[in-house]
């Protein structure tokens, strides 16, 4: 490689040049603290989740139903309708990924399945875990239902849904979810 980047040698005072193990790296731990708030519409949604109820909101312009609900439609840039639409806790797998390795900060047993699930009555899939299923048999169009955590552990978080599992219904018709594949 060209030598234009070769740094000229340093001249060091004696006290430095006699040191065998110079510092080559430093550790600078840093913690920056925030109070995070997801905002109005997501809060509203998560309180309902804590009551075992999934909800969405509809855009007045494109009429799509969003879960989690948005305050503003991401394509139209207009405020979504204020009515909260109750949605069931069942849906269709539109796509998925089988994870075979542990990742930073989470303690799932591998392999596990991360699936995009199109909740019935909504127009956008939700990413969640899919369990109680042989990973070999997971496929697009699979019908699934939410398995909620115990009543005492319910809270305003999507982790109140422990995971989804097949609900035994026949596969969804391709046309019912093809727009999300």
């Amino acid at each position: 490689m060209s030598d234009v980047v070769t740094a000229p040698p340093l001249t060091l005072p004696d006290r430095l040049s006699s040191i065998d193990e110079p510092v080559k790296s430093i550790r600078t731990p840093a913690a920056v603290r925030y109070t995070y708030s997801p905002g109005q519409a997501p809060s509203e949604f998560l309180y309902k989740v804590a009551q075992k109820q999934l909800t969405g909101r509809k855009c007045p312009q494109c009429t799509k139903v969003y879960i989690p609900p948005r305050e503003t439609c991401p394509t139209c840039g207009v405020t979504t309708l204020p009515d909260i639409i109750d949605l069931p806790d069942v849906g269709t797998v539109t796509s998925f990924c089988v994870v075979n390795v542990q990742f930073y900060g989470q303690a799932m047993e591998v392999p596990y399945v991360g699936a995009l699930i199109l909740i019935d009555g909504s127009d956008i899939p939700l990413m969640h875990l899919l369990q109680e299923v042989d990973v070999e048999t997971v496929h697009m169009g699979m019908r699934v239902e939410a398995v909620w955590v115990d009543e005492g552990d319910m809270g305003p978080t999507l982790e109140s849904i422990k995971y989804f599992r097949p609900n035994g219904e026949p596969d969804a018709d391709w046309n019912s979810y093809k727009d999300n594949v």
């Binding site: 980047v5 995070y36 439609c73 991401p74 994870v99 989470q106 991360g114 127009d123 697009m140």
Partner: protein, 387 residues
Amino acid sequence: MERVAIVGTGQTKHTSTRGDVSIGGLVREAALRALADADMTWDDIDAVVIGKAPDFFEGVMMPELYLADALGAIGKPMFRVHTAGSVGGSTAIVASELVSSGVHERVLTLAFEKQSESEAMWALSFAIPFQPPMHAGAGGYFAPHIRSYMQRSKAPDHIGILVALKDRLNACKNPYAHLHEKDATFESIKDSIMLWDPIRYSETCPSSDGAFAMVLTNEKGGDDAAAAGRPPAWVKGTAMRSEPTMFAGRDQVSPLGGQLCSKDVYAQAGITNPRAEVDVVEMYVPFSWFEPMWLENLGFCEEGEGWRLVEDGVTEMTGDLPVNCSGGVLSTNPIGASGMIRFGEAAMQVRGQCGEHQIDGVRTAVGHAYGGGSQFFAMWVLGSEKP
């Protein structure tokens, strides 16, 4: 509009940890090589445009402030772009517009990432309260879309392996590439662990420390370089497109933003048949399957046909549409710089500077970058002939 010429490129040897330099030292190396290639000194530069991906990687907010010394920017305009993974591309485009607008004559642009200062899985996806957990980082996000592509196109399973093998072997011809896996074979990639099924470990990109820099000039600068025997690459078109991360009915396999970006940039460059008219492509492929997906998205073939180009060897260095001769993102991934490496390698191909991974007689090259959830796109078309 002033014509824009790339008259200098420079990069660092990309590697997992550049333990011998500071962040300033890293960016400086790429900048010095670009200046030397352009036969210029710091004094010749009017402005500096820098890009990188999230500041959390190095834990430095707006690092361009501290890098002003290292990049010779004191007393000059110093501009910082951040458009997620496409940032290296959009940074180069902003630099080109500083020249094409006539605002400046000579601009240094640079993108970098020193990922070893922290860790990609942390910096890109630390948990945010109340948000659905990502479960598995970037691969977990993109794997379902790759599966959707496989379903839609009926592509056979081995296509991703072919792409990975090609890029790994191409990288061996690029002395600056991070991975030099000379022993990679179809079997070794096939047998690597299935991380995020359908993505195998060897079909993913590494985490790199690296920087890439370019010197852009106006028409006179390009002419002068040509006269001095250093032919420039001329900018024939630039385009950017963005769309929302998630929306109802979004096509994440072939996002409309990418399609429109490519149509725009080809129109500017007067390209009507990209497959026939483009000699070489550097596209942003962080997971092997994105090569066939982008081939379709960028209009190099019909929808559903991208994998056939891969299977037929069209995108090999010996094919008629070589893709990622440098080894691509699959072999080198300092995230914030990866887009600029694509743009810069395209320039190097046009200028005939690629050594072992040079394609003969490149007249037209495309550089492509994308970012976010396949939602930010940046492209440019370069040519050996003045537009």
